[in-house]
Symmetry: C2
Subunit: 457 residues, 2 copies
């Protein structure tokens, strides 16, 4: 056996958990486009959003100028339960790849929600509680957001209603039980409990659901229930704000240990993890202080960045929500049922969309069998069983490290390991059994989705 170097696991001290979130919008010259009222086509006003969102969160959603927003003590105290999260030097993976590259990953899976989603869930639950609400509604795809929100609501003793994309509900029965254990009620979507759900069930009998549809149901449920608001785990500006703790800690660890990242990689569904991870580094790039290569990785079966359009679209299938300007496949787009992991959303964070549009970041799409190959290799070398979503980032990190092997470059690569795959074993089973397949939407399939984009652009 060869001598193995001592791995390098950077746990910052609790004092290093940031006191403020960083709002990358403050440093963007081209601000993300505002949400539009689909009726008037005018930017949504504070009062128009109040039936849907908590007041404080609307303020954060609108705030394009404040660079640092203080994290309330109650939220920071909760963060202390599982933060700072470690930045891990992937020495075993480097060895396996025989690469001169230096690979690090920020591991956000060391909490019961199993992902970074908790960073925003606890913030949103806190503001709901502070506003005196009874509860919140939400949707969940892969189930990580729902679990995170259920935990956060249990902590603040808020009621929690989760609409779970039907395909995940069926593939991940244990996710449902985790949420129930934390006191949440979980409904498969599309359901018959909302108008939006009933409409979609009628139009697409037997549909396995989509995030866009579950959003419609959750929003409708919030609006129609007294003392409830809707909360969302990705896409929104406020979510990227809360997730900036990932990047702030990563940056602090880099500074502490003199790590100079060249490439920063994150998976991208709605953009919450990627946006959070890259925010403070992006700030430096926007201010012209430093340069980094940012890579968003998305599934080839749901390629919003790489094949979508940068236009105003509805955030949800039921067209209940405001319209956002973003890279989108059209709100009627539903990824192929053979797509196993999360990252199923038709659109993308407005902030990231603007940054991508302005050339500040790149995007790649990857096929799922290749993603699971990377996941298996990572699990067997680094020990951690990654979530399929996170494994998109692993795939591209490995690809970049192999390139370094070929060129001899000693690049430093950081990627976000957003979560663990304990609840994704059905997908792993398909991979282990070699029954997993890929699906790249044809241009015709994409056209069908694009056809649903409203004619306001």
């Amino acid at each position: 056996m060869s001598n193995i170097e001592v791995p390098y696991k950077i746990y910052l001290s609790e004092d290093d958990v940031p006191d403020s979130w960083y709002n990358v919008r403050a440093d963007m010259k081209n601000k993300p486009a505002p949400l539009l009222n689909p009726g008037t086509l005018q930017p949504m006003k504070f009062d128009e959003l109040r039936p849907v969102f908590c007041d404080e969160l609307i303020k954060q959603e609108f705030d394009n100028d404040t660079a640092y927003i203080k994290i309330p003590d109650e939220i920071k105290n909760f963060y202390m339960m599982y933060r700072p999260s470690p930045l891990i030097h992937a020495v075993f993976l480097e060895k396996a790849l025989k690469t001169p590259a230096h690979i690090f990953y920020k591991f956000e899976g060391n909490n019961t929600s199993g992902s970074h989603k908790l960073n925003s869930a606890i913030a949103q639950a806190y503001y709901a509680k502070k506003q005196g609400l009874k509860g919140v509604t939400t949707e969940t795809g892969a189930g990580q957001w729902g679990t995170a929100l259920a935990m956060a609501c249990a902590f603040f003793k808020l009621d929690c209603k989760v609409f779970m994309v039907k395909v995940s509900y069926e593939q991940k029965p244990f996710r449902r039980e985790v949420m129930r254990t934390y006191g949440a009620t979980v409904t498969p979507s599309p359901s018959m409990e909302t108008e939006a759900g009933r409409k979609i069930n009628e139009a697409h009998p037997g549909t396995t659901g989509s995030l866009g549809c579950a959003i419609s149901e959750a929003v409708e449920c919030a609006i129609k229930s007294e003392g409830y608001r809707y909360v969302l785990g990705s896409v929104l500006n406020q979510v990227l704000l809360h997730q900036s703790v990932i990047g702030l800690e990563t940056k602090k660890a880099c500074e502490k240990y003199n790590i100079q990242p060249d490439i920063i990689i994150g998976c991208a569904g709605g953009g919450s993890n990627l946006g959070g991870l890259i925010s403070p580094f992006m700030g430096e790039k926007l201010r012209g202080e430093k340069d980094y290569k940012f890579i968003a990785v998305e599934p080839a079966s749901c390629p919003s960045f790489t094949r979508g359009k940068f236009v105003y679209d509805f955030c949800d299938t039921g067209k209940i929500c405001p319209m956002a300007k973003m890279y989108t496949l059209g709100h009627d787009f539903i990824p192929s049922a053979n797509h196993a992991g999360g990252l199923r959303y038709h659109g993308m964070s407005s902030i990231l969309s603007q940054l991508y549009h302005d050339g500040f970041m790149e995007a790649r799409s990857v096929e799922q069998t290749k993603v699971f190959e990377a996941a298996e290799q990572f699990a067997r070398t680094e020990g951690i069983l990654p979530a399929p979503e996170s494994s998109h980032a692993i795939r591209v990190a490995i690809d970049e490290a192999i390139k370094c092997r070929e060129t001899g470059e000693e690049k430093t690569i950081i990627f976000g390991l957003t979560g663990t795959g304990y609840f994704d074993m059905k997908a792993y089973e398909q991979f282990n059994d070699k029954t997993m397949s890929d699906h790249i939407p044809t241009d015709e399939e994409l056209q069908k989705g694009f056809a649903s984009i409203p004619n306001v652009n």
Copy 2:
């Protein structure tokens, strides 16, 4: 909302991972009784055990005298992937219980195996690799040990054959997939692949299996396969030795932060976690330096300590293994099928059995619905979803903290949170659905188990 104190999460530095394991036997006046050859009734000799165990591990098994045994670099390097594990101050649980007690837990679930089992798995895999073996066989009950071993074998590129207790195999299909992802083969036990399995299937058609039976199969498979040895995740002296890293780190954290534990609590199936956690503290007690109250917690449905006999018994149902002197319910004892969690073993570590017999520790048995009540309360307050096994310790920690509330005593309680419950959602589902029930074996049921104890005592 009330002001919450900042939680207290003690991450030691990587330098604090111990360099040596601590062997509590060195400080025991009454050594644990030796393993017996069931044919000759004489203590097993090194050569007799060689077909079953790796050489170095046999030495560790026999060594009653060396207090500190150096951890090989390769093992210590692997430990660095997930150790030191945090000692967490349960401030939120204390608040919820309104107790003056100080509660801490050593959390061993922050690795993909989801439990402390990895501490010994990597050691055993290392010694097997060093001996030039092809692979190892083992059994797994709840699945944590099998997962840990699969991870360890993937790391050292060893073949890994796991016999999984049938009830767990069926209740935890996802565990199987984790093991497969790490490259292991998993067979439900009793199987038809071994003589031992076929015999048990014949004698008890439809049996849901037991650890004792799976052990027989794994041992037989190792003996009959060239280049294979058997490894075990609990009970044995060597395992408690490896698990002492838990206690050594806990003790270091206590010393660093001036925490003076009064009560130390661990769940007990075969004794690996409890033995590892208490070892260095027990050493102080044995040497007369300090006093602690140690509490072993076991399920009422499998009460080896509290209702078993301290006698020589077979370690496995098939009577292939040597006999050990231990608290046992008889090797034919199989816990009621309604028992959901792990801790299903009929016997108990010889070391812990001797210490219990000599009055150095206490034991309690708890019913599973009460255990899951504690688990739910813990999850909702502390955030972490605990394994059912670990929740036995939580139950008694909560009970002791409530006693402190009644007496006003400010006791310091430490318990071992051995792992997470992500793969135990079937059991949580029963609890959530209120279909979970308890089973306390009747005296008649126990007598049936006792009847299988060999007449050598």
